[in-house]
Symmetry: C2
Subunit: 610 residues, 2 copies
C-alpha cells in the first residue's frame, strides 16, 4: 500500500502496511499507560504450542494500518507532552535563507513541509539534555521508554536470561538480565549510552545506543548533486526503518537540502543524524577554504531547530594530523575529514571546529543534539588501517568527549572504515580507553578492499565482529559503496545485512533476548512450519519468494522437505522419524534405570544406545 500526498512535487508516496505475518502492537511500562512502546508481533502457529513472537520495531506508524499517514502533517508528536513539562523557551526560529536550499530558483524549490513545528531551546542552567537529567539523578520519560523497549516489552526478567548472559562473551560489557529505567539513567550518566533526542523532534520514538543494550544500526540516505530527489529520500527513510534501521543519517549535499530535511524530520520516528559541514560547504559554494565559524554556527542552529538528533562533527581533524595522511595509500576518505583537512592546510591554521569546540557544545546542549564525533581520518583501505593519523585523531576525540560531557552533552564516537580482521579488536579497545567508554559507532569496518559491489558483505564481517567486541551502533554499507548512490534495493540489502551483523553480535555478547528468536525460527524449521520460518526471518518476503521459486504451491508450505534435498533426503524428516524411535527406546531404558536406582536417576538420553 502506498500513500499519496496532495502535491506532485512533494513526497509522493511511501511504503506502508505491516511486514508480512506481523502487526504493530504497543505495550506500556508498569504504571505508565501514556507511554506506548511499539513492537512487532509475529503470529506463529498456535497448534505448535507457539506464543506470538515479539520483535523490536523501529518502523514507525507506517506499519500500523490504523494510523492514517499524512506526510504534510507529519507524524504524531508523541514526545510533545514530555518536552512541554520541562519548561523550555519557545524560540523565534531562525528565518530560512535562500542559501539554505542552495539558492535554487523558485521553480525548482521543494516546498517546506507544512507540518506544525514550534521551536524550543533550553536555557543555561536548565536541565536540557538526557545526560544532564541523568547526572542530576532524574529518570526521563525517554529513559522509561527505552528500558521497556530494550526488554522487548516484558514486565519481568525473561526466563533463562542470566544463563544466556553467562553463556556469552561480552568483553567486559555489563549487560543486565533485566533493564530498569534506573539502569538506563546510570548508563547515560556514566557517558556509556545516549538517547539521541532533540527537543525539537517530538515525533521521535526514543532509542538507546550503548554497549550494554541491543546493538543498533544506522542507514545513510541523502541526495547528491548528481542524482536523487526529495520523493526518493523520504521513501528511503521509511523503507530503511521498515527493514530495521534504528537511526538514519541524512547525508544530502545537493540543493533543497533544508526543505528536504524538513520533510524527513517531521516524518521520522527514528533519530536523524546529519553532517552539518556538508551544508555549510554548500553555503560557501563548495570551496572548503571559504568556510568559517560563522557559517558553520549558523548551520548548526538551522539544523538543530529543525530537530536533527545528532551531528557528526569532525573536530578531531587537527592541523597536525593532516600531514600524517600524506603517505597513505588512500589519503583521507571521509568527506568531512577531507573538507576540514583542506581548510586547515590551506590556511595553515588549527581547525575552527577544534578551536570553537566549547561553543559547539553550547549550541548542541541547548537543543540536546548528541555529538557523533567524526573520524575524519578513518582508513579508506586496509593498508591505512590503525595508522598514526587514525589513532592520533581518536586520542583527540577522547579529549573532546570529556569537554562535551562537562558541557552537558551526549556523545558517541565514530570509527572506521577499512580494517582487516586482525586489526579490528584494538580499535574497540583503544576507543573504550581513550573515550571513557562513550558509545562507539563504526562504519563497517570493511575487512578487504577487493570486492566493490559486495561491500555490504566485506563490511558485515567486520561489523559483526566489532559489534561483538563492544560497538554500540553499526553504520551500514550498501552494495553500491565506492560505486554510486544506493537505490531502494540497495538500502534494503544494506539494512538487512546490518541487522544480521547486529544480531550476530547480540548473540555472541549473550544479550538475554537475542537468542529467543533464533530458537523460535529453528523450532519452526525443524517442524516444517514454513510460514512461521518465513515470518520470523529478517526479510519474510525474500525468504518466501526464494522458497516459492521452486515449490510455489500452498501444499508445499506444509511439506516436510524443500527443493534443496527433496523428500527422500531431508535430514530433518529423517531425524524426526528417528527421534520417535529414540524416545521410545530411551523411555524403556529410563524406566529400567529408574527401577534399578530407586527413581533417583535423572533421565540421560545417551544411555539409550549404550
Amino acid at each position: 500500500m502506498t500513500v499519496q500526498s496532495k502535491s506532485n512535487i512533494r513526497p509522493s508516496s511511501v511504503t506502508t502496511g505491516p511486514i508480512a505475518g506481523s502487526r504493530r502492537i504497543y505495550s506500556s511500562p508498569e504504571g505508565r499507560p501514556d507511554i506506548r512502546v511499539p513492537f512487532r508481533e509475529i503470529a506463529l502457529d498456535p497448534s505448535a504450542g507457539e506464543e506470538p513472537y515479539r520483535a523490536y520495531d523501529c518502523s514507525g506508524v507506517y506499519t500500523d494500518p490504523s494510523v492514517t499517514i499524512d506526510l504534510e502533517a507529519g507524524l504524531p508528536p508523541i514526545r510533545r507532552e514530555w518536552i512541554a513539562k520541562r519548561g523550555f523557551d519557545r524560540l523565534q526560529p531562525r528565518a530560512v535563507r535562500p542559501e539554505d536550499n542552495g539558492n535554487i530558483g523558485d521553480d525548482k524549490l521543494v516546498p517546506a513541509c507544512p507540518a506544525d513545528h514550534p521551536v524550543y531551546g533550553g536555557r543555561p542552567g536548565q536541565l536540557v539534555t538526557q545526560y544532564e537529567f541523568a547526572r542530576a539523578g532524574i529518570i526521563t520519560d525517554e529513559m522509561i521508554y527505552v528500558a521497556h523497549r530494550e526488554n522487548m516489552g516484558r514486565a519481568a526478567m525473561i526466563a533463562g536470561a542470566e544463563a544466556r548472559i553467562a553463556d556469552g562473551e561480552s568483553f567486559g560489557a555489563e549487560i543486565p538480565a533485566f533493564i530498569t529505567p534506573e539502569f538506563v539513567r546510570d548508563e547515560i550518566a556514566r557517558g556509556r549510552a545516549i538517547i539521541p533526542a532533540n527537543i525539537n523532534h517530538p515525533e521521535l520514538e526514543p532509542v538507546i545506543i550503548g554497549r550494554n543494550f541491543l546493538v543498533k544500526i544506522n542507514a545513510n540516505i541523502g541526495n547528491s548533486a548528481v542524482t536523487s530527489g526529495v520523493a526518493e529520500e523520504v521513501e528511503k527513510l521509511v523503507w530503511a526503518i521498515r527493514w530495521g534501521s534504528d537511526t538514519v543519517m541524512d547525508l544530502s549535499t545537493g540543493r533543497n537540502i533544508h526543505n528536504i530535511r524538513g520533510w524527513i524530520m517531521r516524518n521520522s520516528p527514528v533519530p536523524i543524524g546529519t553532517v552539518p559541514i556538508y551544508q555549510a560547504l554548500e553555503k560557501v559554494d563548495g570551496d572548503p577554504t571559504k568556510l568559517d565559524w560563522e557559517v558553520f554556527k549558523d548551520t548548526l542552529i538551522e539544523q538543530a531547530e529543525q530537530g536533527v538528533d545528532y551531528f557528526t562533527i569532525h573536530a578531531g581533524v587537527r592541523l597536525r594530523y593532516v600531514p600524517l595522511t600524506a603517505k597513505r595509500v588512500t589519503g583521507i576518505v571521509s568527506r568531512g575529514g577531507s573538507i576540514m583537512a583542506k581548510w586547515c592546510l590551506s590556511r595553515h591554521k588549527e581547525s575552527f571546529l577544534y578551536e570553537r569546540f566549547d561553543e559547539i557544545c553550547d549550541i548542541m546542549r541547548k537543543y540536546d543534539v548528541s555529538f557523533s564525533l567524526g573520524d575524519g581520518l578513518r582508513p579508506g583501505s586496509n593498508a591505512d588501517a590503525n595508522d598514526a593519523a587514525q589513532f592520533g585523531e581518536l586520542e583527540t576525540l577522547g579529549e573532546l568527549t570529556k569537554i562535551a560531557w562537562d558541557k552537558g552533552c551526549q556523545v558517541m564516537i565514530e570509527g572506521p572504515g577499512h580494517v582487516p580482521m586482525h586489526k579490528i579488536k584494538v580499535n574497540m579497545e583503544k576507543q573504550l580507553r581513550e573515550c571513557g567508554e562513550a558509545p562507539f559507532y563504526t562504519l563497517g569496518p570493511l575487512t578487504t578492499d577487493i570486492a566493490p559491489g559486495y561491500d555490504h558483505i566485506t563490511s558485515a564481517i567486520g561489523a559483526a565482529m566489532i559489534g561483538w567486541y563492544g560497538t554500540a551502533m553499526l553504520c551500514y554499507v550498501t552494495p553500491k559503496e565506492h560505486l554510486g548512490l544506493p537505490d531502494r534495493d540497495d538500502v534494503k540489502t544494506g539494512v538487512i545485512t546490518y541487522r544480521i551483523a547486529a544480531h550476530a553480535a547480540d548473540l555472541a555478547k549473550g544479550h538475554p533476548a537475542a537468542k529467543l528468536r533464533d530458537d523460535a525460527i529453528s523450532r519452526a524449521r525443524f517442524e516444517f512450519r514454513w510460514e512461521d520460518q518465513f515470518n520470523l526471518s529478517l526479510d519474510p518476503d525474500t525468504a518466501r519468494q526464494f522458497h516459492d521459486e521452486t515449490l510455489p504451491k500452498e501444499a508445499h508450505k506444509v511439506a516436510h522437505f524443500c527443493s534443496m534435498c527433496g523428500p527422500k533426503f531431508c535430514s530433518m524428516q529423517i531425524t524426526q522419524d528417528l527421534r520417535v524411535e529414540a524416545e521410545r527406546m530411551a523411555g524403556m531404558e529410563a524406566k529400567s534405570a529408574e527401577f534399578e536406582q530407586g527413581g533417583k536417576q535423572i533421565y540421560l538420553p545417551q544411555q539409550a544406545a549404550e
Copy 2:
C-alpha cells in the same frame, strides 16, 4: 560466449571466455617447462606505473579463448604423463549398472560422457597417494605445481613478504614467505595439507588445502529429485569455478547421477567431492535401513573409478552419539548424518562406516581419493552448537584420522554448521587438537539462524572468522540455503561471498601475497582509475554495472567522482588536491631540515605542519 554440444540431451552450453579485463596465462616453475600453472592476469593502466596483476585462477581452460571446449571429449588430461610414470595397473572398470542411474528408463537416461577414460588403480605396497609419496620423501609433480600456484607464479620471494606475515595474526599457523615444493611435501607428510587428486582424474589442475596455504572455498552443486538436470549441473560447475571455487562437490541425489557425474568429472579442472552414501541410498530405494556394506563398497569403487577426488564419509556418526541429539532443537541436519543415524538406531548396531573403516581406507588409498570426514552431527541451529553430540563425533573423527593416515590416505575434516561468533574459535582449536592438525573444512558457520534468504551473509561472517583461526577450506552457503536449490545466480553470489571470506582470512593471517591485491585496488580507487578498480575486483561485471547505473558514459570512467558523493564532495579528490599542497610544504620543510642536519634527516611528512 557459449559452446554448444552436439546432442540436445547432453550438456548444451557452458560459459566461456575471459573474465572482464583479464586473460588466462601460464607460468612454469624453474626447470619444469612441462608444468604449466594457470593464472589470471589483470591488465592495469601502464601509464599509472602499474604492472599487470596476477591472480590465482581456478577457472580452467574455459576462460582461455585459445582452447576449443568440447564437453564430449573432456578437458585436456594434463596429469596423464605424471600419473603414467607411477606405473599403476590399468583396471577393467566396474560395469555400469541400471541402479547407478536410478534404474531410469532409456528414454530419460542421460548418455554417458563419451570422453576417453582409462581406469587405474594402485597396488598394495606401491606408492599411490600424495601422502604416501610425501612420507617417502618424494616430491610429486602435483606438489611442484601447487607450490608454484601458491606463490602466484613468482620464482622468488615477494618483496615485503616477511613483514606482511609478521603483521598478521595466524594463531599458530606457519605460513612461509616463499613456498617450496619441499615445504608442500613436508606439510602433506605431516597430514597438515592435502592435494585431492584421484589418479583417475587426469584433467585436474592440482590445488592444495591446508592451514599454511591460501584459504580455499568449495561450491556445492547437484540436482535433487525435485529439480535440475545435467545441463544445469555442468554449467554450474563451470560457472562456480569461473568465479573462484577451488573445489566443487557434486551432491546429486536424483536419477542419472552416475552419468551426470561422468560429465562433471571429465570436464572439471578442480577437485570434485561427493558423498557416496547419497548414491548408495538411491540404490536401496531411499530406505536407510536397507543400506549395507556391500552396496556402499560398490558405490565407493564406482565413484573412485570415475575419478572423484574426495569422499565425505560420515564414519563418526556412531550409535552411541545418536541419542545425544534427541534433545536438540534441530536434531540432525546433515543428510549423511541422518541416514547413518537412522541405520544405526533401526538396527541398534554400530555404524558400518565405522566398523569397516579399514576397508574404506584401502579402497580410497588405491585411487588416492582423499577423505573428507563428515560431521554428520553438526549443529543445525545456534542452540545446538558445540554440544556433546558434535564434539563427541569430532573426537571420533580424530581417531579415524590417525587410522586413515596409517593406511596412507589423505584426510581433511568437516566442520559446522550453525555456531554463534563466540563459540567458533573453540571449534578450530578442538579440531586441531583432536585431529592432529589435519585440514579443517567448514560449512560457514552461520552466526545466526534468523536470516533465511541471506545465509550467504550470516555464514560469511563465521567463515571469515574460522578461516582466520585456521580453517583450510570454506564450504559456501548460498542465499537459497534452507529454502531451495540454488540456481546460477545463487551459485555466483555464494562463490563471490566465500572468496571474500577466504581473502579476509588470508589478509588477517598475514598471507604474504594476499594484501597485494587490496593495495592495487586501493591505489586504483584513489587515483580514479575506474577500469582498473572494476577489473581488480572479485566481480568486475557487477562493479562496472553498479557504477554505470548512475554514470554510464565512457567519460565517467575517468571522472574524479561517482554518484555517491558527486564532484564537489569527493573526499579522494579533495585529498589529492591537498596532497599536492602538503608535499610542497613538506618538501620545503625537508629541505630546511636537510640543510640543518647535514642531509641525514629522513623525510618525515608529519613535520610539514608542526
